[in-house]
Symmetry: C2
Subunit: 245 residues, 2 copies
């Protein structure tokens, strides 16, 4: 049974303002909830239509009906459980290794896909400008498919961060140098820009290296690549020489 | 002014059944409509909230209000125009060059993104199994951002097509050979599988080469990559040695 108050609180968590106020966010579906339960994220409360996970504190679990799940879910097709978690404290910035930095990537689906890509390519740190989508937006949480538990996502003033960076900064541009012919380091910061406008002028000035994915069509009309697919190609280029596991 | 009948016909085109019956589909927004107008696609009728394109047959243009556009649009935020086009005849299969083949890729956004990627990488032919999303689904048309005009998308029995293919077939699998260390040809067929199940057993048997994108995380829990981001990386690998323009 879910009370009216609980419904109000949970649906409120679809908004950043209430997530910040309550320091809570939620995830849906067995796969994503299981990954969060297995990690360091602290469960606040689980709402499920059946007994699903072992070893949870009974006080933190409520069995609900499908109709009740519909009332609290952010999905068009709710998926048997919704878990509210406590928002963890941001972990400190790490200055070595490969980092991805996002300059105003606003689409939650793109942010979620980029987090999943970072996880795949063993990149543990994603630095976002304050104008990026919020990592605890339910759409981002769902799109990460659990990768959220393995990538540290931080929000900061991107210009300030890049200005004092210890590792080389690689900005991605339509007219940058061919990424396929560059020598790419194991330590560095890869900057990806906004969906419509790319990297802003201020951040461009802080990008020592300007890289681009060459276009192969006969015609010059081809649209730019979507930021998430561009991220896939660029991260693959940075990692391919180290061959993976 | 849009008649009730026109509204019924246009909204009907959101369904494949009616698109096939009328041999029509629609696109929305200046960018996509302009690309289709510039190509070989035949305009059936344009509905726009202002005079937008030059040189069109007046009988094929209707000025409408924002409220009328809302009634015919498939977008949550309609974008000043909606154009109905005639569905062109399928072009014949080409047996050389690089082809992408999709085995039951059902998500319209994924199909649209893959068409855009083919366009970027100069791949002119995309062969889809009959179970794939329909290329004239409005969500696919929007996601292609006009690339639809430069990539020939065909639907066929994928097993029959691959069984008689003249060029080598590269299936993408979670446990295939490291794509970074393969010698990839300029002529071949790259097969990508269904979002949840990957490539089917029947199609797997027809894939002489099994390739995979290596995973770089410390942990083995990382989810598979989304099919559109996997496509980005694989197409980039096939093209990177030819350096682009």
């Amino acid at each position: 049974m879910v009370s009216k108050n609980q419904i109000k609180t949970i649906t409120g968590l679809q908004q950043k303002k209430y997530r910040k106020q309550h320091k809570l966010f939620f995830a849906e579906g067995i796969k994503v909830v299981q990954e969060l339960l297995n990690s360091n994220f602290e469960l606040h409360h689980l709402y499920a239509t059946e007994a699903l996970f072992n070893g949870l504190d009974n006080n933190k679990v409520t069995l609900i009906t499908d109709d009740e799940l519909k009332k609290i879910s952010a999905l068009t097709t709710p998926q048997s459980c919704l878990a509210v978690f406590e928002m963890p404290a941001e972990k400190p910035l790490v200055k070595t290794g490969l980092t991805v930095a996002l300059d105003e990537v606003r689409d939650p689906g793109n942010l979620g896909t980029i987090i999943r890509l970072c996880d795949w390519f063993g990149i543990k740190q994603l630095v976002c400008s304050q104008q990026c989508a919020d990592v605890y937006n339910p759409k981002v949480v769902q799109a990460t498919m659990g990768s959220l538990t393995r990538v540290n996502v931080l929000y900061t003033d991107l210009a300030e961060y890049l200005a004092v960076a210890d590792t080389p900064v690689f900005g991605t541009f339509m007219d940058g140098d061919n990424v396929y012919t560059q020598t790419l380091p194991q330590d560095g910061i890869i900057v990806l820009g906004n969906e419509a406008n790319g990297i802003s002028t201020e951040i461009e000035r802080l990008s020592a290296h300007r890289i681009a994915i060459p276009r192969f069509g006969d015609l010059q009309q081809t649209e730019s690549l979507n930021v998430a697919t561009a991220a896939a190609i660029i991260l693959s280029e940075f990692r391919r020489n180290f061959n993976g596991k």
